[in-house]
Amino acid sequence: MFAEAPSIVAEEEKKNGSGPWVGASLPRKEEDRLLRGRGKFADDIKLREMLYLRFVRSPYAHARVVSIDTSAAEAMPGVVCANTGKEIAAQTQPFIEIGPDQAQKIRDFPMAVGKVLYQGEPVAAVVAESPSLADDAAELVQVEYEPLEPVVEAEQALTDHSILHEEAGTNRVWNGVWEYGDVERAFKEAAYVVDIDRLHFHRFSSTPLENNVVIAEWNPKDDRIYYWCNNSFPSFAIQFLAAHLNIHIDKIRVQTFDIGGSFGIKITSYPQMAVCALASKKAGGQPVKWVETRSEHMVSSAHGNERTFRNTRVALDKNGVITAIDSRHIDDCGAYPRYEPLGCVIWSQVFCGVYRFKNARIDFWQAVTNKCPVGPNRGYSRMQHLWFLERVVDICAHELGIPPDEMRLRNYIRPQEFPYTTPNGCVYDSGNYPKMLEVAKDLIGWDGWKKKQTEARKEGRMIGIGIGTTLDSGTNNFGQSQIINPYAPFSGNSQGANCKLDIYGEVVVAVGSCPQGQGHETTTAQVVADVLNIHPDLITVRTGFDTERNVHTGFSGTYASQFAVSGLSAVHGAAQKLKAEMRRLASFSLGTNEDDLEFGIGQQGPEIKAKSSGKSINYWGLANIVNVNSAVLPPELYDVTLNCRYVWRAPFKVPDTKAKYGSLTLTYASQLHIAIIEVDRETLVPKILDYVAVDDCGTVINPPIVEGQVYGATAHGIGAALMESCVYDAVGNMMTSTFSDYTPITSMNIPNIKYGHTTTPSPHSYSGAKGMGEGGAAPVHTISAALQDALFAQGICINDSFNNADSIFRALQHREGGQLAELVKLEKR
């Protein structure tokens, strides 16, 4: 499937037990378990007297619920109970709204109350003794609807002609203007001004192998809620759940296990978690399981944000250097904001992308529509903006007749400018975009393809070469939420970890993340192995999240490309603390100075040795002194527990919320992709002829894991660009709600990918690593650019992020009406 990739680290895998382990191509510790089918997923959990929940969902995108009759379902043998939105609303609080002002008035419950706002919204839930009985009973629930006018476009929603949340009185969720520099002056002095009427980033999602799963038990004996689930940001979920369910947050226990992919989409499963808990309560405390079907996942889990860019004006100097951008952006967050409107500020982490322009005004809007609520899908909010910037660069390049590689070189932030402060105060830690372009061009054979392209065009073939340069910003400053709502209680970022020597001397590490394939077990072991100078196989890493392990903070989970920085910094801190305690203990035990000690592996396993005497004590001996043989301990060592928790805190400050200025993210990994695409002259099917992905995520902890994530993100992006789109019809039916219509990318559709790597270590993390894994949706930008190049001569401007044979056909049809001329105008001064 993939072309053979050059190894990032030249050295062979270390087998002799000596480090350093960070940077080594260590096979994933998780692999053996997962590949042999021995993983433990939420649906593998079977509990005594477990019940099964099935949702009844709205066929309408917008309708008033006239009545719900659950009596026939409840009368069915084997059915335990049913719940409706109205019943839930009577015993809960609406979910917390992050947005300010009118958005605060939105009343969001986990099932529809009075109105349904998107096709697939739950209106009732039936609980039965088996999944089949629950299915059958759900069909007996009678719901009467009165259809209302649906709103499926964000621009249309902003007219407030048909309002979704009547209590808010508007469909607008948020609006704010980001303005920096002197935009007016830049336009006055521009040599060229390019106007782009409309660009559109389409709605797509993730299709994890494992759908959402929740098991909830509201235990009547201790009045605590126990969750076994695959939510990927549980520390966020429990904050929402506690307030919603009127229960102390410490009374909610969440455990996650192996998770079969999330890509951010599983962050927003807390409404279903609430329904399952309330169902368990109604069922007298019996555990209730809900396993989402694929169809449910497609219509009602969460989609990525859709965004429209209107009236974009770009000022350029005589050399094609962009001096200013002025644009209006409208984000569609679906029926309920939920994690939104955080996306209204998250994009500004990459405000200027990889480019140097200093003057810009972005008027940003977000609206609700009668579509599935959005969630933080891989590349969340930033990929839409980065795609926009890449489109701007390519359109301007074509209009001015500047080759796209040259256009980028003229506009890139220069390597010597790092750390680079963006117009809105973000600090890009490191990077070398020209070098990445050089590596990518070498890998793909740029000059050769240019020649082939020239020859092919003589034959009438439509071949395009596209470049996409993008950023993967990692480790958020949650203080940016205060730009959205000054009363938001979040700022900074933190992650916890615990590192201990167990009673028999085993090194055990627990972290607050929820890995879904990112290899946290392996990279954690690598970091600790280097601290203690032992082999990673000697370290046990507790995977999965558990509130009762007490290692999490309010930001714990797996999202936003941060584990390599936040998670591993916490692990490193905890390991250092443990090492310091072990050193003190060994100094006492071996009767020598701490400076005289060295950590390593001896005859009896991991040990600490006195260099002067050769005496040593192994880990079991150390643990024994503290846990079992404690009478020998002198009082000055009573504080030694060999059980060390460390909370790493990112060095952030609260941004200036009025100026919308400050550091919003700690690290900036970058990706540069090049695609060669041919559009078939007869079928108009775009085919990738060659593809290169170059990644820079700073110091690499584990090369194969990084490579795997680059391939995954690339596949996801290619799917999004060419195959996957959440299409809604005019009345809000989702028309791509099955895999046969949504056509998620598979191994059969992924081209050979040539992989390359450059390294600019981050000065902002202890190891030089940067968070990665989201890929910045680089393929979406790159494929749009390649198609632009292939079709520009045909009078086509690529103005949508989704392009398949059908959309290219429609663009070609529209060409007769002057698609390019209508969309783009060039003014030469």
Partner: protein, 146 residues
Amino acid sequence: MAIKFSGEFEVKKKPEEVYDFLTDPNRFAALLPDFQGLAVQDAKHFTVKLNVGISYIKGRADVKMELAEGDRPRRAQYKGHGAVAGGNVTIVAGFDLIPSVDGTKVNWQGESQIFGRLASVAGGLLEPLGKKQIQKLIDGLQAALA
């Protein structure tokens, strides 16, 4: 999703006779494709039971119909809505009756909106299938009024 339909036909009956036929649920409803049963509530309201089957989605639909406009002998319009397997449907169907030399010219037009999984899963099939079913109804009407 919306399916729009329209057409015309002529029958050798007076407009009054055509109107009376169209507004009599017992005669009109029986011509609906895959008709299974009828319950008449009053002169303007009735519920028809229909068999619905598209690919693997099969089931019975209860469609509540209302004679929304009745202007004897010029125009009759039905509005209906119902739950069908995997979705909901609304129907508006109007008949304009124009006297002709031999009898009555019937101009018919309407729109059906389909919501839910039925539209999502079977969207591509619905329009041709819907039009085929409408044609069956019109053919039935013509035959009955012949």
